[in-house]
Symmetry: C2
């Protein structure tokens, strides 16, 4: 049981991670992380590890994984970190490997999108000076 002096309320957490309060609560509703504790009054309290977990979630977002997919991955991740064995371990490894491959594919997609976006942005930037001669 961590000391409450070490723990952060949702506001501090949200600011450090760069998420809205609503998002943090939403991820909790969705089963991605539960605050380690609550104050007597009911305020959520988070450990440093949970802040890390939120950062991980935030890094996953650009890859376009759904909340459900994140939950799966985080669950497998947890299984690995807890040092499970046998069937559980094998499944977790398989799951993580699958996500890793998908992640690489989505990075590829992101690169394409970025390329198209850059092209578009440049064409836009070139336009306003002389407008009529464009095709």
């Amino acid at each position: 049981m961590p000391d409450r002096g070490q723990m952060l309320q949702i506001g501090e957490v949200a600011e450090r991670v760069g998420l809205s309060l609503r998002s943090v609560r939403f991820y909790e509703e969705s089963g991605l992380l539960t605050p380690a504790a609550r104050t007597d009054g009911g305020f959520r309290l988070y450990t440093a590890e949970q802040v890390e977990r939120l950062l991980l979630i935030k890094r996953m977002k650009p890859l376009g994984f759904s909340v459900e997919e994140m939950r799966e991955l985080l669950s497998a991740y947890d299984t690995l970190e807890r040092g499970e064995e046998g069937e559980e371990l094998a499944q977790a490894r398989a799951s993580v490997a699958l996500f890793a491959q998908q992640a690489l594919e989505r990075c590829e997609e992101l690169r394409k999108q970025l390329a198209r976006a850059e092209e578009f942005a440049e064409r836009l930037a070139k336009l306003p000076s002389g407008a009529s001669g464009e095709r």
Copy 2:
């Protein structure tokens, strides 16, 4: 009035552009483009120019502009292409310039996201072989 032999129905258009039928209709609902004509039975008919316009919309999407913002930009774009003058022209140019700058900023954001995503994907890929020694 273009010849209907030259024009395409929504299915063909969607396939060429790579959007769903629903998306094409949605962009119409949102005021981004109106089909050039309809058949007697009510089928939407699109010109080649409108296909181009849809491609433009599709290229804007990765930059994260809202439909309302797209409408603004397309409107300004149209003003430039129609060779307006005076006040209208000035406003349109200003608008396009603003969007151009925002587009560049969002490209910058996209690059950052991609970088974080790549880092994440790599870490994921390295994980499943040896799991316990991780941080």
